[in-house]
């Protein structure tokens, strides 16, 4: 079974999976390895990183030196296809005109979704992160704890390949022995930050990223992941053997033709397709879930994005993994007499409590890094170290004026020159030009650093989405309208982060480029801008206050599941992708069990 067109779908499937990213990819992998027949429906085009990734291309080979444009908002070589902050023909709206209350929504219309370009940062939620309300009385607890998810974190890390180290730091879980791949050595600026951060009490440790620092153990891992399933073991081993170790060049955001990092299209989908149990329908946008008279899901209606033609697919089970807000949109658009407020929404919680990651940055110039001997700092195409949140104790003792933490991500080094190289140096050069400018450019290259906070946002009543009463997409399907408002917790967190970064830059002997913002609303990135939007259909213990049970099974429709970040009850500072994959695998195991028992 392969990539197919609408007229080639089977009459029915065991499971329809809507979406092909981290959630859809993991769900399809888990189910097809166990023999279920799956139809995956993706709204974007087919995409093959092995053939399409620009490896080694330099910015000088691209239009406009690969600068960001409205067509490619993260630069020409970013792997995103047909996506960005605005997707032609697929609008969304904001309820408020207030610039501080905007939500921005990044979408990618391509096989593999946003896993093709993501930062590969793979951090586990810790025990506190699943029970935040219990700890500080804010937000919501999950119906599951760290121990429920830990085995799945191990499994996902072994499957996709994650480098990092076990630090034993508070609420920063270790992986089981032998799971992590060795972390790469730190770069010069990272090491300098590590040394100087010590005085400030900041722990700089290896970050975890889904990049193969060495090749995976294809002889041992498959048997651990698929005990008693020789076919799955064989398919996974073949897939693992087709992946190369990182060759320490080319940014991960371009994707990876040698499969050295994780993207759904190189890790989840090839073995799932090789199983013979997966059909993938691309360029098909699901508009609604269909129901039978008994209120059970029967399949979906989709629109062929090239022709506008409507199609149907049927299955015993439907899993929405379209990305949090797109899954919410499908639920809200699946209205019926039985579900007038949208499908699986008897609680009224669908669309509510959406969260992003809290982000702010501060950069500076470090004289010590000037004129360093020439050397190669490309590394793993992303950061090698980070600072996990370190003030749990102070927070618990009431010494901070905000709840929940942030981790710190680094940007340092002699990165591949781009169109901004040599720009904006006047504060250092006094406006030099000519031979002096060339000397200055050599001196200052690689001597700047930037630190960014990635922090936890507490879900609030003012952050939600609903169907826009007027605006529809080009196929006539109602669009989403967003409401957004930060609370003081997020704003104070950002102020704390910028202050910390200024201290760190000074401790490195440097100078901040701009002082921390007087008004944190000017420093915080807009809602959605970190592209970690989760929630909108949270899981819980009760059908009255949540949309799904702890396995992503909707309370109202037992054969309808949510596989993506929509079910998140909180959004820890840890980047959500790894948790999305772990929960999708857990959901898949449960679903297989329920189908075997005849419960769905």
């Amino acid at each position: 079974m392969p990539i197919i067109t609408s007229d080639k779908t089977q009459p029915t499937y065991d499971v329809i999976v809507v979406g092909s990213g981290a959630a859809g990819g993991q769900t399809a992998y888990t189910l097809t390895m166990e023999g279920l027949k799956v139809l995956m429906i993706e709204s974007g085009r087919n995409y093959d990183p092995v053939k399409e990734t620009p490896m080694f291309q330099t910015d000088g080979q691209a239009p406009l030196r690969a600068a960001n444009t409205p067509d490619k908002p993260m630069g020409f070589y970013d792997s995103t296809v047909d996506g960005g902050w605005a997707v032609p023909g697929e609008p969304y709206t904001n309820a408020s005109a207030d610039p501080t209350r905007q939500f921005t929504w990044w979408r990618a219309r391509m096989l593999g979704g946003r896993t093709n370009h993501w930062g590969r940062i793979s951090l586990r939620n810790g025990p506190y992160d699943f029970k935040p309300h219990r700890r500080d009385g804010l937000g919501f607890d999950w119906p599951i704890g760290y121990d429920d998810v830990a085995p799945y974190y191990d499994k996902v890390e072994m499957l996709v390949g994650v480098y990092g180290s076990n630090t034993g730091l508070e609420n920063t879980p270790d992986s089981s022995p032998g799971v992590l791949l060795p972390p790469p050595k730190a770069r010069a600026g990272e090491l300098l930050a590590q040394q100087r951060a010590k005085k400030l009490g900041l722990p700089v440790v290896p970050i975890h990223r889904a990049v193969l620092s060495v090749r995976q153990d294809a002889d041992a891992i498959p048997a651990k992941l698929h005990p008693g399933n020789p076919k799955a073991q064989r398919l996974l081993a073949e897939s693992m053997r087709s992946r190369a170790a990182c060759f320490w060049a080319t940014e991960c955001g371009r994707g990876c033709a040698t499969k050295a990092n994780y993207q759904s299209t190189t890790v989840h989908l090839p073995p799932a397709l090789a199983s013979g149990n997966l059909d993938i329908l691309t360029d098909a946008m699901v508009r609604e879930v269909t129901l039978n008279a008994a209120g059970k899901a029967t399949g979906v209606i989709h629109v062929d994005k090239k022709t506008g033609a409507e199609g149907r697919a049927t299955a015993r089970v439907v899993v929405l993994a379209a990305s949090s807000c797109d899954s919410v949109r499908i639920l809200l658009n699946s209205k019926s007499a039985r579900f007038p407020q949208g499908l699986a929404n008897s609680s009224g919680v669908v669309g509510k409590y959406i969260m992003d990651t809290v982000g702010a940055a501060l950069g500076g110039h470090i004289p010590l890094l000037e004129n360093l001997p020439v050397h190669n700092e490309d590394g793993a195409g992303g950061a090698h170290v980070y600072i996990p949140w370190w003030l749990y104790g102070e927070q618990l003792a009431g010494k901070l004026d905000f709840a929940r933490g942030y981790h710190v991500e680094f940007s340092t080094g002699r990165r591949m020159p781009n169109v901004t190289t040599g720009a904006n140096l006047e504060h250092l050069t006094g406006g030099s030009f000519g031979r002096q400018f060339k000397e200055d450019a050599r001196r200052y290259y690689g001597a700047s650093v930037s630190f960014a906070s990635r922090g936890e946002m507490i879900p609030n009543e003012n952050c939600f989405c609903e169907l826009d009463p007027v605006v529809k997409d080009k196929w006539g399907v109602p669009a989403l309208r967003f409401h957004w408002q930060w609370s003081d917790h997020e704003l104070r967190q950002v102020a704390h982060a910028q202050k910390t970064f200024a201290q760190l830059i000074e401790a490195m002997g440097g100078k901040v480029r701009q002082p921390p913002a007087a008004n944190p609303l000017t420093a915080i990135r807009p809602g959605g801008n970190v592209k970690h939007e989760v929630g909108g259909a949270r899981m819980g213990d009760s059908p009255k206050t949540s949309v799904t049970n702890s396995f992503g099974q909707t309370w109202d429709v037992p054969n309808l599941f949510l596989g993506d970040g929509a079910t998140f009850c909180s959004n820890a500072d840890k980047n959500p992708t790894l948790t999305i994959m772990a929960l999708a695998w857990r959901m898949g195991d449960y679903l297989i069990g329920e189908m075997k028992k005849g419960n769905v």
Binding site: F76, A188, H375, E409, P417, V419, G434, F437, A452, D468
Partner: protein, 216 residues
């Protein structure tokens, strides 16, 4: 999220990029299905949301260029005043930087419209000022004369009031010249970028770097 660290918004500040983001989302949201194609002219003439990432592009491949012969001559002379040849690398014009600037100011995107105006007007000012001071076109001036003219406009903060606008142009032009130059193979070599090559292992900074940082 991608990915922090992410490339800095090329040539634009955060406020500008966020402005685009909202403008783009809002303009599409406000339109009905029929007016949609008409309202996104940029993508009709830009490279679109799914360009070929593998091929090598040259200025003029995607949209027609702006510079007249005279403007190109001025731009070339100014590029080489900012980045002249030295013992390490060639001058900016030797590696195609004027053509890159032409490509940049001709691109069908909002930020580039602004730069087109800044650059075209700035080049005209350079010629007028060159005639006023030296009764010669800029390209024919000797180095000392070119430098004298540029000295007055090389730093916005210090420029006299009558030179402020020209200084803002010069800043933009210097940034573009540098970005154009350091993204060429010659420019990357000059600045000390030796990566973008496959390695069997990543060994971290060499001992001389650690020693210089006091980390050895």
């Amino acid at each position: 999220m991608k990915p922090f660290p992410q490339r800095p918004a090329a040539g634009i500040d955060r406020r500008t990029s966020i402005k685009w983001m909202f403008a783009a989302a809002a303009s599409i949201a406000l339109l009905d299905e029929n007016s949609l194609s008409a309202a996104t002219p940029a993508s009709a003439v830009g490279y679109g949301t799914d360009p070929d990432l593998q091929k090598t592009y040259k200025p003029g491949d995607l949209w027609s260029l702006t510079f007249t012969e005279d403007q190109l001559r001025t731009a070339t002379a100014l590029c080489d005043t900012i980045i002249p040849a030295d013992s390490i690398s060639p001058a900016a014009s030797t590696v195609g930087v004027p053509a890159f600037i032409d490509e940049w100011i001709s691109a069908p995107y909002p930020e580039h419209d602004q730069d087109r105006q800044i650059v075209v007007e700035g080049l005209a000012w350079i010629e007028a000022e060159s005639q006023r001071r030296f009764q010669s076109d800029f390209g024919s001036l000797i180095l000392r004369q070119k430098n004298a003219l540029c000295e007055d406009i090389c730093l916005v903060a210090k420029a006299k009031p009558e030179f402020k606008t020209a200084a803002r142009f010069f800043k933009r032009f210097r940034d573009l010249t540098a970005g154009g130059f350091y993204t060429t193979p010659e420019g990357m070599k000059d600045i000390g970028y030796v990566a973008n090559v496959p390695l069997a292992s990543f060994d971290g900074p060499p001992p001389e770097v650690l020693a210089k940082l006091g980390l050895a």
